[in-house]
Every structure is written in C-alpha cells, then in structure tokens.
C-alpha cells in the first residue's frame, strides 16, 4: 500500500498536514502550500507498506520552503568526480592560477635536469681526456 503524506514545518517541528493516495495530487498540493509561504517548510513523503515483510519504507519526493532549502545548503551533495586533465584545462580562475604555477615548477625542474646532465657529460669527457693524456706526462 502506498501513501503520500504532506508534512509542514511549523513551531520548530514537522507535522502531517494531509494524506493522499495519488502522487500527482500530493505534489500539486504541496507546491500550492509552498507558494503560499504559510509554512517555513513543506515536503511530501512517500510511504510504501510491504505486506509480505510488514515493513514500511519512506522517501521524500518533494522538498519546498526555507527549512528544506537550508538543510540542503548545510548538507550539500558530495562533489562530483573531477574530469580528467589539468586544473587549467578544467577551467576557472583558481584552476588557471594553479595550472600556471604547476607549469612554472615543471619548467624549473627540466632546466635543472639539463644542467645536471651537462655537468655529468662534461665531467665524463674531462675524465676520459685526463686518462688519455695523463700517461704522457708521467
């Protein structure tokens, strides 16, 4: 069995306002209540009673009013997974700034690598030359 309860938030608590067996009617009426701004909050809770398990499950199918919107702000949805790519590619001012910084850091490390390889190469050549010419002077 299915029921759609309209709840209104008044006096600091939720209260059952009315009950319907039709989803469309319940949501329509809840929207009407919401538009009247008579209550701080309004919601529609769908209740399903499973006769086999004797259990009732409930879920909110409509939220309106200040209370529900405030609750949504306090408990926002978890952040979406980030799209692949650098911060700069994802866009946004902060992302772009982070991207530029990352690029500068990467450039510095490349320069250091080239200098280090050059030093090793020159050192190696110097060592070879020394081995080649040193016996003549000994």
């Amino acid at each position: 069995m299915r029921a759609f309860e309209i709840h209104t938030f008044t006096g600091g608590k939720w209260k059952i306002d009315s009950v319907f067996d039709d989803r469309e009617l319940a949501v329509f009426e809840a929207q009407r209540i919401d538009e009247s701004s008579r209550y701080a909050g309004v919601r529609v809770v769908e209740e399903n009673f499973d006769e086999d398990t004797q259990k009732t499950t409930a879920k909110t199918i409509f939220r309106g009013g200040r209370v529900e919107n405030d609750a949504n702000r306090r408990h926002p949805l978890p952040p979406k997974k980030r799209a692949p790519g650098t911060a700069a590619q994802r866009g946004g001012a902060a992302g772009r700034a982070r991207g530029a910084k990352h690029a500068r850091k990467s450039e510095k490390s490349n320069t250091a690598l080239v200098i280090m390889l050059t030093v090793i190469l020159v050192g190696g050549l110097a060592a070879l030359a020394a081995l080649h010419f040193l016996p003549r002077f000994v």
């Binding site: 306002d17 009315s18 009950v19 009617l25």
Partner: protein, 165 residues
Amino acid sequence: MDSLTDATERPGTGEELPKGMERRLVLRLLSYWRGLSEDGVLPSFAAIDPSAMKDMWESCFVLDAVGHEADPVFRTVGAAFAEHSPIDLIDRRVSEARANTLVHASVSYIHEVICKGVPISRGGEFYKADGVKVLYRSIVLPMSDDGETISGLLCAANCREVTEG
C-alpha cells in the same frame, strides 16, 4: 487510476468554473477548509457557508461524530452525492452504506481521519451491482467544535462510470 474528466468534477452544477479556478473537487474543498483553519486549529461546522461553496456543496456530505465516534451519522447530504445512494442517508450510520457504491467507498477510511486528525483523500475504482466500473475520488476533512477534538467530518466525492469495451 484514470483521471476524472472535467465534466465529472462538477456534478450537478451545470456551470463552467471561472477561468483559473482549480478543476478538481477535492483540492477545491481542501483549499476552502484551509481557509477556515487558522494556525492549525481545526475549523468548526459553524464556519461553513454553503452559499460560498455552491460549486462543491452538492457533492459534499457531513458526518456527525459526537457520541458516534465508532460509527458516525450522516447529517447533511448534497443532492449530487445523494444520487449515488439507493437509500436516504440522513441520520443513518456510515455502517449502513451499501457496498459497491460511491458512499461506501467515500466513508471507508473515515476512521483514519479521526485517528490522524488530518485531511485524507483517496480514489480508486469499484464495480456497481450491475457490473459497471466506476472511478471515484473523495476527501474527508476533520472538523471540530473546540478546535481540537474532532466532532465531525466534512466530506466530498465524485465519480464517473467507465464503459469497458
């Protein structure tokens, strides 16, 4: 449940509703009831003005629950609603409503309203004694003399027959 037609929603009136007015009887009556209910206090029968709800009154009926909580009594019955009962309902108990009628379907959940103290609307279908399928929609609203204890119920219902091919 199929939607009731526009024509079915205004039985007995024979008049077009003003433009922009809610078409569904149950929502119009609920809106009227809300207008009488201040700050969550249940409205009293004394506040009802049939002349202010001509478009609905013919489909309404009133149940008296004082001293008859378990089996309320019909006190007022609108002409359009009365057409769906083979017997005169005035001063009869709801348990006397004949099965497979709009009256029976409309009073089948009044105890839930008395228990919860809030309006409940139900619809559905039933088959009349002659086998004709009927779609209906009803609403039961709690009323009170002292604003708290339920003393009666304001109800309304309408329906339409469905020819099954």
